[in-house]
């Protein structure tokens, strides 16, 4: 995958978390995801247009609870609509900002976010798109952003939207 499509997510996640949560994020080396690492909360966004695929922000429960409390300015009960809304808005901001930093000329739309909550779930993706996993370290705990996107080939007029499916 072209690093020019990965760097924007690193910039964006640091920008979103520092601006909205006053929470610095340290980034570990990105890797290609091979196995399934289970998480408790995932926010998912699909990308369509000149870049297609999915972006997933996945948290262990403890970390998600701390992050949401910072974002909302108060504790929010786990597995409530408000909790899911906050996770969805975070992945929405991270993805929206990242796409604005893509190499110029790319027209990309993002979907409304989906949120999966369930102990030890994993998120499956299109098998033909490599998934880059970026570990993020914060004072609230560690989480990951997973990016499985590809540029649409010039000869491929059919845009295939993200086909992320969740398996709890």
């Amino acid at each position: 995958m072209d690093p020019n499509f990965i760097k924007p997510f690193i910039t964006s996640i640091q920008n979103v978390f520092s601006t909205m949560l006053q929470l610095p994020v340290s980034i570990k080396d990105p890797t290609i995801k091979t196995g399934q690492q289970p998480f408790d909360v995932s926010g998912i966004i699909g990308m369509s247009g000149d870049v297609t695929g999915s972006v997933v922000l996945s948290f262990p429960r403890d970390c998600a609870e701390r992050v949401v409390a910072l974002f909302c300015g108060q504790q929010v009960a786990f597995e409530t609509a408000d909790f899911n809304d906050a996770i969805g808005e975070l992945v929405n901001m991270v993805s929206g900002n990242a796409k604005a930093l893509f190499p110029s000329g790319r027209k990309v739309s993002i979907s409304c976010p989906s949120v999966v909550v369930g102990a030890k779930h994993s998120v499956a993706r299109q098998s033909d798109v490599p998934c880059i996993q970026i570990p993020c370290v914060t004072d609230c705990g560690d989480f990951v952003i997973e990016i499985a996107i590809k540029q649409r080939a010039a000869a491929d007029p059919a845009s295939t939207d993200a086909a992320a499916t969740a398996k709890a």
């Binding site: 909205m20 909302c72 300015g73 809304d85 808005e89 929405n92 901001m93 929206g96 900002n97 409304c112």
Partner: protein, 125 residues
């Protein structure tokens, strides 16, 4: 001064409400998407609207275009993750008066709101 917040995220509406409260604006009407906003806007008669772009049912741009057919004067601030220059131009052409990219600091949103209300007051004088 009545302000309408149009955003599908309750979290984001709450953050915006907190900023508005700091500025002394507590008369707020909320809508969760463009369709909901269209159904409420006539009765609510807001003096300012803060509108998200990406929402289910009716997105913010479609709402602005529909709203501007009947109302040319009430200022609208788009508050969105859509940061590309082309998107900003598209929104301004549709009738948006000011633009805030998420993420934002409370200070920035407050500044944009005050700028927009000051311009409205100046044009009404």
């Amino acid at each position: 001064m009545k302000i309408m917040l149009v955003d599908d995220s309750k979290t984001m509406r709450n953050i915006q409400k907190a900023v508005l409260a700091q500025l002394g604006h507590t008369d707020v009407v909320e809508a969760c998407d463009g369709q909901d906003a269209l159904s409420k806007v006539q009765a609510a008669k807001p003096d300012l609207l803060l509108v998200d772009w990406n929402m289910p049912n009716m997105d913010g741009l479609s709402f602005v275009k529909a709203y501007r057919q009947a109302n040319k004067a009430t200022p609208i601030i788009m508050v969105t993750t859509e940061a590309e220059k082309g998107r900003v131009i598209e929104a301004i052409k549709a009738g948006v008066n000011n633009y805030v990219v998420k993420p934002f600091t409370p200070d920035l949103l407050g500044q944009r709101i005050q700028e927009t209300l000051a311009k409205k007051a100046a044009s009404a004088a």
